[in-house]
Amino acid sequence: MAESNKPEDFVKHEYEAGFVTDIESDTFEPGLNEDVIKRLSQIKGEPEWMLEWRLEAYRQFQEMTEPNWQKVNFEPVDLQSISYYSAPKKDSDKPQSLDEVDPELLRTYEKLGIPLHEQKALAGVAGAGTPAESEAESTGGGGAYSNVAVDAVFDSVSVVTTFKEKLAEAGVIFCSISEALQEHPELVKQYLGSVVPRGDNYFASLNSAVFSDGSFVYVPKGVKCPMELSTYFRINAENTGQFERTLIIADEGASVSYLEGCTAPQRDENQLHAAVVELVALDDAEIKYSTVQNWYPGDENGNGGIFNFVTKRGMARGKNSKISWTQVETGSAVTWKYPSCVLKGDNSVGEFYSVALTNNYQQADTGTKMIHLGKNTRSTIIAKGISAGHSDQSYRGLVKFQPTAEGARNFTQCDSLLIGDKCGAHTFPYIENKNSSATVEHEATTSKVSDEQMLFCRQRGIDPEQAVSMIVNGFCKEVFKELPMEFAVEAGKLLEVSLEGSVG
């Protein structure tokens, strides 16, 4: 018999997106000060108010200290040692069409399976191939991205956004936030910082001061966005931080489904990613925001990897509005993020579905906040954590009912799955209830991939790696079914890759 046939021996991380694109970049000298912010704003040709906004954020930021209440351990980030802007060099101002985009960049996205050619995307050529087994239904062809518009962000800038015309026909604005500042400054001005204020927290303030690019979405009244929208973030340059800012607004009766994906090269140094995402849903509007996060997690010994410190918050502002977060997190060396919902409108709904997988020496402190303000607001939290190797994971969730939240309800379910016995899983649920008519239900379980389950699968001829992957996928099922179909398949495959490894 082989010496080692424990479930944990079949879990190994192979990071496929770890390559570096060799491209000339314009990169700022490392360092952070007001001049850097002014230069950044100038390069982007931003309106004066935007620069003022940034500088005020920077002033607030300087008053703050890095938070340390999370259950993670890492060397503090030296913010003066990183560069705050890096963009691929180009002759013209901004590429107007794909032909003007550096072929090296196009190849990068092709390698990552992200189609920037609309025709190919429609034909499903560059898609992620055949989905894994989805019950016994036939899988059929078609790429994962066949009906998805993509905004591709490379280091600090958006390289290209696809299907803009098609979306414009429906009245949907989908572009980089830099472009939105040029084309739709009034919308940006109205909503930027309305959900995550400049002084919200250390990294959010930093982001407000130095954010370089990100995506902007506006779906007008009564419009159901005809395509999935997605932004693909790629960190390439060394010693740079990525600070993107995403702002999504669904006007009355509008709905949109948005997906974010991310990867980075394999490097020995840690890199900082501090994003801010703001969602605003007006009356009867619905925003579904899905993340498949696959930043470089560091190597088997815990060297390198991305620090993923992100503030994501959705404001269900109007009555009957809905904000839904779904996240699949497999990457990053250290993650802390709590996509949250502020349920302001009466009858508004907040959802949080999460799968977090940590392996080797990865650390994640993640969860959500559901702030109930309106009457009869409802929230659902389903968090699935999978820990393997020496990794450590915490679920941290706050459910808060304000005195105005008459008849509000929350349901929370936190499940942890352990693979091996060197990893950890922790749950920190916080409940603040200031309204006696509000109800909250909490369930939590911890389980292990057991030797018996492994024996059972293997006795049916299934090899151990596939068995672990199948058991983990089964554990995540409730969350995967919340992802847009195409991405559910991708998420399943991502878990499979993250769990890939050979015997011994």
Partner: protein, 253 residues
């Protein structure tokens, strides 16, 4: 087909099997009976390769191959199937997905094409019907929330799909109602063939009325102390193990 010679196995240093000898020829059905704790399940688990058990002596040949050199999944692909005494639950993994993965792995091993979704569905529904499981069970998680009897039927359904060379049934009859017992026995009987054998572990002669064995063994304290034909099972039923001079309290050793 299966030859076990002087098999000794222990768990965490405690000997459980203490010199088992057994020969199963193609087409035969062997029953193994014996008091609680005598080592019946251990024998079954050692055969399929459970790693908690250490084989300290002896050998096992399966179709001439040294079984002890093979990994659990290799043994399965070689045609060994165990219907577990306590089938585990795999939450969220549908029976269909599980079975399809298992069956297609087996087919690939034999150089056959994978079954496409419609043919697989048809086959699965047919086999489910054979053990009286409604097709709804195919969509449910593997054994997730199944009753004891449903789990046992599910095991037999899997066996019907996999069509093994040697089917090992570990107390599949325990916890089954009378009708289910017949259904399952019928299922097993449809698989009986000249080149397929069974090792049936049971406490009750009742099952052996339906699955008629060629050979009956009595296992006590890790050894086969008596071998006979189906008559032996009936005598045991009548007289109990005391008749063979086994002190049940000691038998568990």
């Amino acid at each position: 087909m299966l030859t076990i010679k002087n098999l000794h196995a222990s768990v965490e240093g405690t000997p459980i099997l203490k010199g088992i000898n057994l020969e199963i020829k193609p087409g035969e059905v062997h029953a193994v009976m014996g008091p609680n704790g005598s080592g019946k399940s251990t024998l079954a688990q050692v055969l399929v390769g459970h790693e908690a058990f250490e084989v300290t002596e002896g050998e096992i040949l399966f179709d001439g191959q040294n079984l002890l050199e093979l990994e659990v999944e290799e043994r399965a692909l070689a045609g060994l199937f165990l219907a577990f005494q306590y089938p585990v639950e795999i939450p969220g993994v549908s029976n269909l997905q599980f079975l399809r993965t298992a069956l297609n792995t087996l087919r690939k091993h034999h150089g056959q094409d994978e079954l496409d979704a419609p043919s697989f569905m048809k086959l699965a529904k047919e086999k489910a019907k054979q053990v009286d499981l409604s097709p709804d069970f195919l969509k449910r998680g593997v054994n997730e929330g199944f009753s004891g009897g449903e789990k046992k039927r599910n095991e037999i359904m899997q066996m019907l799909m996999m069509e093994p060379r040697l089917g090992i049934l570990d107390e599949t009859d325990s916890g089954l109602d009378i009708d289910a017992l017949k259904t399952i026995a019928n299922g097993v009987n449809t698989l009986r063939a000249d080149n397929r054998s069974f090792l049936v572990v049971t406490h009750y002669q009742r099952l052996l009325n339906h699955i008629v064995p060629d050979v009956v063994h009595v296992l006590a304290n890790g050894q086969i102390i008596k071998t006979g034909d189906k008559q032996l099972a009936m005598e045991l039923e009548e007289h109990g193990y005391g008749w063979l001079g086994i002190n049940e309290a000691e038998a568990a050793g």
